[in-house]
């Protein structure tokens, strides 16, 4: 029992720290990648290749004045970014990021919480993180913020359904909500993306909408809403929204890896490395298309979610079920 507690505590802290570091460096990666897409070089002043940029950004945010608008709902205004970031960071609990390692003769699973309902947990906490955005937009007593928050609310809940339904095919094949079991079921190259290619595409589209990235970055559409829900935020509270957003981005990519791309499975290299490679390929894809696509209009986003993705994901469930019943 004692060993379990110590193991969990150390594992959690290490993973938390590494994950946070990844989130920080994702900002740099995004700026660098976008820079090279856009015939410029990106940050290169702070440290070699701009490697200290995220740290400088973090420190700068820490020393900035925090402005709380006079007419805002002050309690909610301060709580909102905290909700956003802490819920997004909690998401990593159920992601299996590797097989297992043996330390001091003990087998240590490379997952923080091997939960039987891992997938449900993910969706539940992902929705909680959306609250931060909505509350933040509403509480700042700003029309742009309010519009951004409302858009965020409507968009996120609309795509959550399709996102949840696009994973059902995977659950049907694996017969489990436990992410570790889902990964194990994909051993030997039986990646779910082979059996559920359409669902994978749906998942990626819904995920983009869920984490508010181009072409679905409506809630914070810079050019229309002058930043949207985080318009009134400054200093660390502003940064927290961004850390939350990048954490969400990482998680969404990690879940895609886990559900569809065989998780940590792969030849030769250690399991953790494979997991990271796959995850970052998806993250790279997200950044790449940010450099390519314009932004969809809001009503089209909603239409795509309700009128296209929802029926199609339901159809995907139907086809998957039919094939599985007939193949029996």
């Amino acid at each position: 029992m004692l060993f379990f507690v110590v193991e969990t505590v150390i594992k959690t802290i290490v993973v938390f720290g590494v994950f946070l570091l990844f989130c920080a460096y994702l900002t740099l990666a995004e700026r660098k990648i976008l820079g090279h897409i856009q015939v410029r070089i990106g940050p290169n002043r702070v440290g070699p290749w701009g490697l200290l940029q995220p740290i400088a950004d973090g420190l700068k945010a820490l020393f900035k004045e925090e402005v709380v608008p006079e007419r805002s709902d002050k309690v909610l205004f301060i709580i909102a970014p905290m909700i956003s970031v802490s819920m997004a960071l909690c998401l990593m609990a159920v992601i299996p990021f590797g097989d297992h390692i043996t330390l001091f003769g003990k087998k240590i699973n490379l997952v923080i919480a091997n939960s039987e309902i891992g997938l449900l947990y993910l969706f539940a906490f992902a929705s909680l993180a959306d609250y931060g955005v909505v509350i933040g937009g509403w509480s700042s007593y700003n029309k742009y913020g309010l519009l951004g928050g409302l858009r965020a609310a409507a968009q996120m809940i609309s795509y959550e359904i399709a996102l949840g339904l696009s994973c059902v095919g995977v659950i049907m094949i694996s017969g489990s909500l436990n992410l570790v079991d889902i990964v194990k079921a994909q051993a030997g190259g039986h990646w779910n993306v082979i059996y559920q290619p359409i669902a994978f595409i749906f998942y990626i589209i819904c995920a983009l909408a869920e984490i508010n990235r181009t072409p679905f970055d409506m809630p914070e559409a810079e050019s229309e809403l002058a930043c949207g829900y985080n318009i009134e935020y400054s200093s660390m509270k502003f940064s927290l929204f961004f850390i939350g957003e990048y954490a969400h981005l990482m998680i969404v990519a990690a879940v895609a890896t886990t559900l569809f791309l065989g998780g940590w499975h792969g030849p030769y290299l250690p399991s953790v490395v494979w997991f990271l490679i796959k995850t970052f390929l998806i993250v790279f894809f997200f950044m790449w298309q940010r450099g390519t696509f314009p932004r969809l209009r809001y009503d089209r986003i909603m239409m795509l979610g309700w009128k296209v993705l929802l029926p199609l994901t339901l159809a995907n469930i139907f086809v998957t079920g039919l094939v599985m019943v007939l193949a029996r």
Binding site: V39, P215, E224, A226, F293, P294, R297
Partner: protein, 390 residues
């Protein structure tokens, strides 16, 4: 009857997508626009009034600051009006140089429009691509005028300096690669499904409305009306150039986008013709009381020195009368109306700026659309607040 309450939102003056300090007071029903009220004047500098206290030469500098993305064309419009008032003939070479630089400026202005318009709709990468080419155009113009934005290159009766030695080569090099770059933007945007979604059937301005609101330039041509001052009332030898006027069909944001892209290709054709047929000769008319003498003569010749001094301090005195001259600026028809009372300063200088008139049609285009469309529509009108507020 149910009470209807709308949300009133200020868009601008400090807004990333209103292209300057334009303020729009939007009335929203949800996100649908039910009313729009543009508020202008945040950038008012009184250029027209200033024109009444400065000599004809000094006013050239102020025209730079109208549409600061296309100062060459503003110069051209103003000096054209003054030349018309004076009734002087501009040497052929100067006319050709004016056409070349005006079209280069049109390229730069359209590239800036493309960059910001695409950024407004979320295609960030196009911004940097377009700026890469705009940089090259500005480098060429910098060789010529020494400045990159406010050139003040035109003079009454001609241009300030002859083309530098490497100008022709630089321009030719640029023209060689530029059409491929336009193709590159088109690859990113023209058939992009999201771009089509955002621009097709958005902000439609019908033919009748376009005429009734008096819009001009790409906005007018996007609505399907073949009107271009360069063809309709040729100035500066434009009648000797061979080019087409691209037009749209529906009059939506997408048509205006296509028209401008086509215009860039046409501008390339004009520049190429101008360079190939560039006549030899003087670059400024030799009118002793109106045009400046050559700079090296000023240093050796006492008459030239006196002439320079008189022009710089007192200016010249045109005959009394009034004149209107318009040119095709990147944004539309730019007109200068000058009343002379026989003194060395204009009695009245009135500038008909295209952005101001084009902006007037905004309520026609915006109402019934969503907030996101306002951005696309403003971008497609291509306004510059410098010339709206003057």
């Amino acid at each position: 009857m149910a009470e209807v309450r709308y949300l009133t939102v200020n868009m601008g003056p400090q807004h990333p997508a209103t292209h300057g300090v334009l303020r729009l007071i939007l009335k929203l029903d949800g996100e649908t626009i039910v009313g729009v009220d543009p508020v202008i004047g945040h950038l008012h500098r009184g250029v027209e009034k200033l024109g009444e206290v400065k000599t004809y030469h000094q006013n050239i500098v102020f025209t730079d600051r109208l549409d600061y993305t296309a100062s060459m064309v503003n110069n051209l419009g103003y000096v054209g009006a003054v030349e018309k008032l004076l009734g002087i003939e501009v040497p052929k070479r100067a006319q050709y140089i004016r056409v070349i630089v005006a079209e280069l400026q049109r390229l730069a202005a359209h590239l800036l429009w493309l960059a910001t318009h695409a950024l407004d709709i979320g295609a960030m990468t196009v911004l940097f691509y377009a700026f890469r080419e705009r940089e090259e155009v500005l480098n060429i113009l910098e060789q010529l005028a020494g400045a990159r934005l406010t050139f003040s290159y035109m003079r009454i009766g001609g241009v300030a300096k002859d083309l530098p030695d490497n100008f022709i080569q630089l321009t030719k090099d640029f023209l060689k690669k530029f059409p491929a770059r336009i193709d590159e933007y088109e690859t990113l945007l023209t058939e992009n499904i999201i771009w089509l979604n955002r621009t097709k059937n958005v902000g439609i301005l019908t033919k009748e409305d376009a005429i009734n609101y008096g819009v001009s330039g790409p906005v007018l041509r996007g609505s399907g009306i073949k009107w271009d001052t360069r063809k309709a009332k040729p100035y500066s030898s434009y009648e000797e150039f061979d080019f087409e006027i691209p037009t749209g069909t529906v009059g939506d944001v997408y048509d205006r986008y296509l028209v401008r892209l086509q215009e860039m290709r046409q501008s390339c054709r004009i520049i190429e013709q101008g360079i190939n047929n560039l006549p030899e000769g003087k670059i400024i008319a030799d009118e002793a009381r109106i045009t400046y003498p050559e700079k090296d003569r000023v240093k050796t010749d006492i008459e030239a020195l006196i002439r320079q001094f008189k022009l710089a301090s007192e200016g010249f005195i045109p005959p009394p009368g009034e004149v209107f001259h318009s040119v095709e600026a990147p944004k539309g028809e730019l007109g200068f109306y000058i009343v002379s009372d026989g003194s060395n300063k204009p009695y009245r200088l009135r500038i008909r700026t295209p952005s101001f008139v084009n902006l007037g049609a905004i309520s026609k285009m915006v109402i019934g659309h969503l907030v996101a469309d306002v951005i696309a529509i403003i971008g497609s009108i291509d306004i510059v607040l410098g010339e709206i507020d003057r």
